[in-house]
Symmetry: C3
Subunit: 392 residues, 3 copies
Amino acid sequence: MSEIDAQLSSEVAEQPAAGPVQNELESRRAFLTRTSLLSLAIPGVGAALAACSPTGGASHDSAEQRVGSTTDTGAQGGQPHNSDSRLDSAVLKREHRAATSATGSATQGAAAVAYHRFAPELPPLSGGATQQIHFHAREAPVRIDASTVVAAWTFEGDVPGPIVHTRVGDTVEFTLTNDVDIPHSMDFHAAQIDPKEAFKSVLKNESHTFTFKPRHAGAFLYHCGTAPVLMHLGSGMFGAIIVSPREPMPPAKDFVLVQNEFYFGDAVNGAHPSSFQKMLGMLPDLVCFNGRPNQYVNEPIRVKVGDRVRFWVVSAGPSHPCNFHIVGEQFDTVYLGAPPGNAIRGVQTFSVAPGGGMVYELVCDVPGEFPFVNHGFGHGQRGAIGLLVVEH
Amino acid sequence: MSEIDAQLSSEVAEQPAAGPVQNELESRRAFLTRTSLLSLAIPGVGAALAACSPTGGASHDSAEQRVGSTTDTGAQGGQPHNSDSRLDSAVLKREHRAATSATGSATQGAAAVAYHRFAPELPPLSGGATQQIHFHAREAPVRIDASTVVAAWTFEGDVPGPIVHTRVGDTVEFTLTNDVDIPHSMDFHAAQIDPKEAFKSVLKNESHTFTFKPRHAGAFLYHCGTAPVLMHLGSGMFGAIIVSPREPMPPAKDFVLVQNEFYFGDAVNGAHPSSFQKMLGMLPDLVCFNGRPNQYVNEPIRVKVGDRVRFWVVSAGPSHPCNFHIVGEQFDTVYLGAPPGNAIRGVQTFSVAPGGGMVYELVCDVPGEFPFVNHGFGHGQRGAIGLLVVEH
Amino acid sequence: MSEIDAQLSSEVAEQPAAGPVQNELESRRAFLTRTSLLSLAIPGVGAALAACSPTGGASHDSAEQRVGSTTDTGAQGGQPHNSDSRLDSAVLKREHRAATSATGSATQGAAAVAYHRFAPELPPLSGGATQQIHFHAREAPVRIDASTVVAAWTFEGDVPGPIVHTRVGDTVEFTLTNDVDIPHSMDFHAAQIDPKEAFKSVLKNESHTFTFKPRHAGAFLYHCGTAPVLMHLGSGMFGAIIVSPREPMPPAKDFVLVQNEFYFGDAVNGAHPSSFQKMLGMLPDLVCFNGRPNQYVNEPIRVKVGDRVRFWVVSAGPSHPCNFHIVGEQFDTVYLGAPPGNAIRGVQTFSVAPGGGMVYELVCDVPGEFPFVNHGFGHGQRGAIGLLVVEH
């Protein structure tokens, strides 16, 4: 019995052998016969979620129950492509009344965890032509304000993960080590690479390395691509990789803002887990820049009069755009595609698609306090607001 | 008594002459006095839906009940412009507990209907300077996966309808024949033409022809424009018309992807009708490329290493954008307006507005399996995912 | 005791001194010690809303209760930046079962208020290099169709407020006088100015003046920026300021369309107030161009064959984009940034972000009746449709 089969068997022991579970088990067994498995496709998720629904997956009455019931799609083409996310599905089932991120070490010590502001400054380039990056996939309670701790799935213990800064044509050698039971993976939007291999799911205590050279400058999302992506991305596993063009851009104060949505389930051990059901409902509890509601209202971003300021804005979603706007200011330049090209001028508000990134520039020639917001105010009101203070 | 008046009378016989119905009837009679009627405007829908609501249209408490109660807007300008969709409104009333697409022949034989993959390849140009196209508006059960049949309103029996391919300056001579009780119409976004005449609703067993020459290249939506448009578009009556520029674009493998949302009511005869109420709620059950959830995961789109690949992406909605992204790849070009101009470069994700279309290009110089997704993952997770396989 | 403290004391007298209220009170007192207060930031709102929720703010179960509970964010940086919107918060509490716009004079005389079409024509430039504008913040019942009166918060008694037309480099000297109990303010997206001072909240019977020179041409939103912005913007306090470039654009018939969403609470005195809870739910009751559902269906916009037509489209939101499309037509030009640059060509549909504006042009060389719509039809169906009639 292979290690994976053994894991599967232990899962079985924990599960009543009900019809849908059994069917799912069989189909998962079939997946295991494939030598390579696609990390990012969705089928396989559905049955798990259907199984964890109190009413099963038979009804089409609600969106939540409906999602993913296409797992059993009878493809004419033989072997369905599928996810190797059998383990995370299993975890979701185990937490079957919740399907949340309140797993393993995600809530331990929640009461004691300290708040810290997420530094928005773009870190400098590393210098060399090759940059080695090593992230650990971890579960961790993350305090996002005085009263709220999130039971997060993370890269490096924070939400968002660390800002990566590289340059067109430089080399990124990335290693992911997975510290937890649920498989995780890394999908860099800045990489052009076979995701079946590079972005594959990594099992507990294993590591995986891949290398890429970004071709286009811009503000790119990275995120865990293990199925269900909605759950992994929505539970905190995302961040920004900023790719500078080879020719330097105009000198500026560079900041990185990653917008994300939080969808909370009932608190466990004082930490609020992310709820897959609420993610499917797409009405977020909070919408944040860099993982904390209103953090830059309380502790603003500060620049000097005359500074050119460049915001590298990434919309992690999982589902909504960021309608980026600065109160009292206008962007002289928004780069819709790779900077320093693809620019439009004289813009009050422009949307970054979920899963996308754009670069916004302005010259701060007026001193004052300028709120930056998601001007879709049903979202902005949920925490997607900060302050840019321009001082003499 | 005219034919239309006769139809109207037969409707009356089926309906209890309750207050709102009677009022609506009178206002519908007023519409009939107009010699030409606008197919696409909305008023007239509201009263029908209010009448089919269990609680009537008096309350403003819920969005669903509220929509369309503006029918009785007291316009100062005399005769209100209105829809000739009196018949479909009647049908909606007849199905008054549901207001779904489970009409007439939409569910017949659902259990026996076979699944087929929707071919995404852009068909070649027809060759001549004039192309004649003849579509039938039909109701049909359409199998979208092993376990799901949709009670669809269709062009030519499938969802989406056939891909039309033409060229700037060529002539499209289009005929719609309506096979069913509900009036239907055709709105080509590629046409510049008086919609009151060209896109008018066609009654059962009648045909209507119009001719147009596209002026701009691009990926355009077509859809039934009969009121309520939300219902007709949302029940399956949409597709893509691709307009190539006169100067050939760079050689590429061309594919067409139409994203749509499904909103299901309770199954009837084994087929899932589209629910108008759920369409108004805008939380879809499924989001698909070319009408089937995850169809290209099961049966991928295949190209060769070195191919330039061009996706003509149309967002049929009815309500949500398509945040198009390819995992492990980047678009070297996205055409925001008519190709071959209006391009931006180096893009990870860009949104196609509902009712819009854009063209995305990449060079597949890396072999592998690349999922393409709606990166708004609350939608992507509902089926808007496929696989692009790049082979040696 | 200062005037503001006196107001605060009277608020206290009306409120039971429950824990959360007391806490909020104390934190509001702290805000008052600051000599200047930021109008636009969000904290402070949350506690008020939590206090007016039947279940308090402790639970994270629903999005509505969750929003704003980050008020008490323990910032490391000392004094939190905050809103001076203590009074409107108080009002929201007073109406604590509703948190609606049905305040003071917003519903008086609702039954008698007359409907009027909102003129969409862009008014001519004023002529001089300096334009003086004086708006009053008022509560008023506004009839938006035969059966619906909105209990609106307004600029100048209408929704939207008056269209402002200026030119790059000209001077706008703006005065806001507040006629009502709730503080209000003005945020012009066309201004580059310190919002802490210029856009500050104005108390009842007070006035505030600021001056700015627009730098970029375009269709810009203006709105009340007093917290909670979602409530003020969503209750009717918005409009368009159109900035023409200094070099004249091609001659055209110029029209201004401002899209907004209405979210209604239970009627009071025959007027439908705006509901903050429903705004947070983001499922609107109506979506309108220039404040009235389908108004230009009933009374179309009329132009002549051969006219170039330019739509200055602003999306007020508060939360959704406007996916602007004209049935039977295409835009030869859409300006994504400041006109006359930043244009794309040959467009069927393009989205204006909430809080944004874009300019759309077409040549009306075909006579007919062309519906213009929000092609996100879940929204369009709620009233965001009009008619452009092109006549010989």
